[in-house]
């Protein structure tokens, strides 16, 4: 798919025009899903209703039509809340219309117990609903009481029809390994591009056929611009690039064009032999020379 088509797919997913019932967002402490989630209401039309199920959000979000504090209610109450509000009409000026599609945003899926995930999702999912849930990948995964029961992340990733993985585009001067090490100790570095409104997005979209396509984008949520992600220069080191060898020692490590030409013309030993005899389908061909003393009776004499 071309560059343009991948951006179209992303925009269609964000505006709920693509049929994708469960959109999973994977975030971390270095890049939260906050800015990506805000792209959905920005792209959605006024015909879409947005229900916000909150497990960790203190302030009511301005774009949500309805807001439910899930910390104080049971999962049955959540299901009936979604059912009730997804079917109700939207008031637009003087008239009311039925919502074309309802977006249910769950601020964090980490609070749903591992063994209740499928039950929870099936209780709220409907053809007219798209669920958008964030899963924080940094949070330690509890061991299940059942042997070999999959982790929450595995279950969510398996069910999801689209997976959005957000990553920070961190500054060049920071080593990725030491950054991860610091974040894992809750020691977040400053001015390193973490939790910024410009971030990297890896989108995995699963088609109906089951085939999944993966695209990488750079998202600028301030200007709502999405571009295909271009790997930084550092990742594209050309092994033939001799400029890297300059300034390392006083010795000349580079080759000039004349030396290169000479190198290419060197005939490697046995190359000719491979051409002449190796042509017979990989068989070992032994050619007797005039001084070979071959005794048919001696079993150890047979070279094969």
């Amino acid at each position: 798919m071309s560059n343009q088509n991948s951006t179209v797919l992303l925009t269609r997913l964000l505006s709920l025009k693509e049929n994708s019932p469960f959109l999973l967002v994977l975030d971390s402490l270095s890049q939260s899903s906050h800015y990506l989630i805000r792209e959905f209401p920005h792209r959605c039309s006024s015909n879409n209703k947005i229900l916000y199920l909150s497990y960790e959000t203190a302030n009511k979000v301005p774009f949500a039509s309805e807001f439910l504090d899930c910390t104080t209610v049971s999962s049955q109450q959540i299901a009936s809340f979604v059912k009730q509000h997804s079917n109700s009409t939207i008031a637009t000026g003087s008239s009311t219309i039925a919502p074309s599609k309802t977006l249910v945003i769950i601020d964090s899926l980490n609070y749903i117990p591992n063994n209740e995930i499928t039950q929870f999702l099936t209780s709220i999912i409907q053809p007219s609903i798209a669920i958008l849930g964030t899963f924080h990948t940094n949070i330690p995964q509890p061991q299940s009481a059942l042997l070999n029961y999959p982790s929450a992340l595995t279950i969510f990733s398996f069910i999801a029809s689209s997976i959005f993985e957000v990553e920070a585009i961190h500054e060049q001067f920071i080593d990725e390994e030491s950054l991860e090490n610091r974040v894992n100790r809750l020691d977040l570095p400053v001015n390193a591009g973490l939790n910024s409104n410009k971030f990297k997005l890896t989108l995995t979209n699963r088609r109906k056929s089951g085939r999944s396509v993966i695209y990488k984008f750079t998202i600028d949520s301030e200007n709502h611009v999405y571009e295909q992600y271009k790997a930084s220069k550092e990742e594209e080191i050309d092994p033939e690039d001799e400029s890297l060898l300059k300034g390392l020692t006083t010795f000349n490590l580079t080759t000039n064009s004349k030396q290169k030409l000479a190198r290419e013309q060197v005939e490697l030993p046995y190359l000719e032999a491979q051409e002449a005899m190796g042509a017979s389908g990989g068989a070992i061909v032994y050619e007797y020379e005039k001084d070979d003393d071959y005794d048919e009776e001696d079993p150890y004499e047979d070279p094969f």
Binding site: H34, E56, N59, Y111, I139, R185, L186, D187, L188, V190
Partner: protein
């Protein structure tokens, strides 16, 4: 380092510690103050209490020198110290907490396991009651400018059967009733914080789960740690102010975190000297 220029501590780009924009907003902010053994955040907490109550920060910011009467109400919940400790410590900041009308202290240290929680194996009800008391006290006054500090709430996870999700839900209720909530927690690696832990009953797992989830809902984080290069006689530690998972300007317009790393030195006479790193 002693010849270096002393710096003023600021959290936001408007050169404030607790910004007026937060106190006069309708939103609720959450911040973490995390530390490890050897870098007690006591001096910082005292300065934040002082700044919340009267707008000054005598020990850490010379520019904040205008006293504002009843700037905000402060409710301090401690699982680590009794009231006397703070009364004594804040005297250096020019505060008399015993006669400060805007200051409420809830002591959950002195009688935590004798009065407040009698059965640590079935503590849910008692802990919910403790948090209900906090929210009741917050609802008494109509003043919306409220700042709440909760010191070392993870003690409840480490000593009782209470779950991290339960504690976070209680904290969320408190957060909704105030403009700014500070959670002060220890994050000593391995001992109390380890991302590789996986046993749900393990206190380390519960604390880790609590802290990471807390970081996911925070607007800014303040971290105190010793120098990574080793001990130095003229430096106590480093203080980092970093952005949280939620941007501040999403709840308070045009307020920007001043992301900075400082190194600080607490002198023998308890003065604080801050330098940019």
């Amino acid at each position: 380092m002693s010849t270096g220029q002393n710096q003023d501590l600021t959290i936001f780009k408007d050169n404030s510690l607790l910004s007026d924009a937060i106190l006069s907003s309708e939103s609720s902010l959450l911040s973490t103050i995390t530390y490890v053994q050897g870098t007690s955040p006591q001096w910082l907490i005292n300065s934040l209490i002082e700044n919340a109550l009267q707008g000054t920060a005598a020990l850490v910011n010379n520019d904040l020198n205008q006293k504002i009467r009843n700037r905000s109400e402060v409710e301090f919940v401690s699982f680590l110290h009794p009231l006397d400790y703070y009364v004594k410590n804040c005297k250096k900041n020019g505060l008399d907490l015993t006669h400060s009308p805007g200051f409420t202290f809830i002591d959950y240290f002195s009688q935590l396991f004798t009065e407040n929680i009698k059965d640590t194996t079935s503590s849910k009800k008692e802990i919910s009651k403790m948090f209900d008391d906090i929210t009741k006290k917050l609802k008494i006054s109509n003043n919306k400018k409220k700042v709440v500090f909760i010191e070392l709430p993870e003690v409840l996870l480490q000593a009782t059967d209470f779950t991290s999700d339960g504690l976070l839900a209680e904290i969320l209720k408190v957060n909704r009733l105030c403009r700014q909530l500070f959670i002060i927690s220890a994050k000593d690696h391995i001992k109390s914080f380890n991302l590789d832990s996986s046993i749900p009953q393990d206190p380390v797992f519960k604390t880790t789960d609590f802290l990471v989830k807390l970081f996911h809902r925070s607007h800014y984080n303040i971290s105190l740690s010793p120098l990574s290069t080793g001990r130095a006689s003229d430096i106590t530690g480093s203080l980092t102010i970093s952005k949280g998972s939620l941007p501040v300007d999403s709840v308070v317009d045009r307020l920007v975190i001043n992301e900075k790393e400082y190194i600080y030195h607490i002198t023998k006479d308890s003065n604080i000297r801050l330098f940019f790193r």
